[in-house]
Symmetry: C2
Subunit: 341 residues, 2 copies
DNA sequence: TTTAGCACTCAAATCAATAGAGTGCTAAGC
DNA sequence: GCTTAGCACTCTATTGATTTGAGTGCTAAA
């Protein structure tokens, strides 16, 4: 692939910019008037023809202006975007909001989703950080009524799961506390595998408690769909490219598919990925772009967060926002999980 | 208001039915062909004119068929719907799904939202049951790292709240456990007022714990927006009457407004309310109807659940579904909160 | 009271003509 | 060898006129 001349780059960038702004195909004359390239529309036309030849632009029809292809967007994102940092003022506002919030994952996630949606003017999603190797911190058994017991498990790092158990035979609260105390004495700090081995011979109610504990540990190690925060979905649905027939649901579902998230989650924390038009692998995303990043503490607890919009999305803002919010979230996770790893 | 003749009732019912089915204004001839009224289209026209005179129908324009007014829908819902029970087969499926689920409020709510959306083919929302007078069941303080303490509070009935506290001075886990034990010995079974009085003189960290406990109790007594489950929103957004300009967000927000929910929640558990076209009080709902009911244990913990769709919604199914799901949820809440009140 | 008949209305579909934005190409200019 | 002015050509979008058809309201007869 031969290198584009500086002027071609400039024109490609302008076309992408203008198209993102106006949502209308951009013609040579309009581009000339809107920029200070110092060349005539005819020259621009020639260059555009070359860019089309090379696959960066297309034509909806003969007498329409140019529209970027996915390849064009890709080039734009990789080579032509200069400054993806958010302006300092905006950064401050965002950071301030996070410091105002309570020290709770769910609050942060919700806030992150809200900030991403607002700043990038796209739909956003934030998945909860998944514990890569949950370790028991505390277990509590509370009798709520004769045949019902509430089991609460705290993992190292502070995430909490609960489950209601129903008993055949009622068990008194002191007995329950004793069982819980045994786990707390013997199993704190252990991961699922260690617990499975150590307590392999437990039977009856205690065995059941252990199995549910293991189950909750598995659960904490997976991204459940109930722990995905979204924002801005209905707004982005109003964008002209999402005509009512294209079902947004299908689209959001892709983002929850294991294949998709796993693929993205294989990237290291700290990098921002841009997936344009589904990259041919996700049909439902053919008209969309996704800007996504992992956040959290690598090897311990990581989640994903990103925005979803039409391919015609403001990439600069989106990338800046995703990067900045991911950084903040990583800091927060580290702060929260601090010395426990 | 003079009574409608049986034939007028029949015609009104048919118009509403057909309009709900087809979304197109229904004309006299079409109605004649689609029914077995045994009268000519001219007669139907005359009757329709009368119904329009009385305010049950309108005309989009001179040469279009008739469309029900809100008053027409109201009459339909109150007088003309005969059987709002779901078919037994459907009931069984639903009941089965609930019994398959785990004993957890959040699971039930999610399931309820899903069932409502599917059965009524509208958007659904389910709010968490609000404890009307939360009483402490258990309090736990867990040190997660030197300066961070996780506080977990269980209320009678089994709902759980948590909060992370940051300390000026580190406090050891045994000390924390001791403080928690004091609350558990002295405050279990108390409501917020009792706790406030009993522990009015607590200071320092223990005072802080008490204040957060009270805060969490207040919190448990309010419907927070994070505890609202929704489903089917994007589907219903595709309905022809919701053109892209009308913002669904604004619409959903109304349902979360205190005014709206309070109004609805003032009705007793067990009744299903139908709000057609916002009843003039909620402008954003002018094109919508809401079918909503309270569920739970009256005087102890109640929530609301319902569906939201265009005024042209299948009222029969919606009312049947809301009533049935509300009944199931009430049963479940009673089962869960059982003997504790 | 019902109904057949008819004139009338109005939105939606169809069609033709036009305007305009934009392209591609060619030939002249720097 | 680029660049640019000029021009023919293409295709969409808009506009306006016309037609179509569903549906109404009214009247007069059954």
């Amino acid at each position: 692939m031969t290198e584009l001349t500086p002027r071609q780059q400039r024109i490609l960038g302008l076309v992408v910019q203008m198209y993102i702004d106006t949502a209308a195909p951009v013609g040579s004359k309009a581009l000339m008037e809107a920029s200070d390239l110092g060349v005539s529309s005819a020259t621009i036309r020639n260059e555009m023809a070359v860019l089309e030849e090379l696959g960066y632009l297309t034509h909806p029809h003969t007498s329409a202006g140019r529209v970027p292809t996915d390849k064009g967007y890709r080039y734009f994102v990789e080579r032509l975007i200069d400054n993806v940092e958010l302006p300092p003022a905006e950064k401050n506002t965002i950071r301030h909001q996070f410091h105002q919030a309570r020290m709770e994952m769910s609050q942060w996630m919700q806030l992150a989703a809200a900030v991403l949606a607002r700043v990038s003017r796209s739909a956003s999603l934030v998945t909860a950080p998944r514990l890569e190797r949950p370790r028991l911190r505390h277990l509590e058994l509370i009798s709520t009524q004769s045949h019902l017991v509430l089991m609460i498990v705290v993992f190292q790092g502070g995430s909490v799961r609960q489950r209601m158990l129903s008993l055949q035979e009622p068990i008194s609260q002191p007995e329950l506390s004793q069982i819980a105390a045994r786990f707390n004495e013997q199993a704190v700090g252990m991961d699922a595998e260690a617990i499975r081995q150590r307590f392999a011979d437990l039977a009856g109610f205690e065995g059941e408690v252990m199995h549910i504990l293991l189950d909750l540990m598995t659960d904490a190690g997976q991204t459940s769909s109930s722990e995905v925060y979204r924002d801005g979905l209905t707004e982005v649905l109003q964008e002209p490219e999402f005509n009512r027939s294209s079902d947004m649901n299908a689209l959001v579902n892709v983002l929850e598919q294991p294949g998709f998230l796993n693929d993205v989650l294989s990237a290291p924390v700290g990098t921002v990925q841009v997936i344009i038009g589904g990259e041919g692998r996700w049909r439902e995303l053919s008209a969309c772009s996704v800007v996504i990043a992992r956040y959290g503490a690598e090897g311990f607890a990581t989640g994903a967060l990103g925005v979803l919009g039409p391919t015609r999305m403001p990439y600069g803002r989106a990338i800046g926002a995703v990067r900045y919010v991911a950084d903040i979230m990583s800091d927060l996770v580290n702060e929260l999980y601090g010395e426990s790893f």
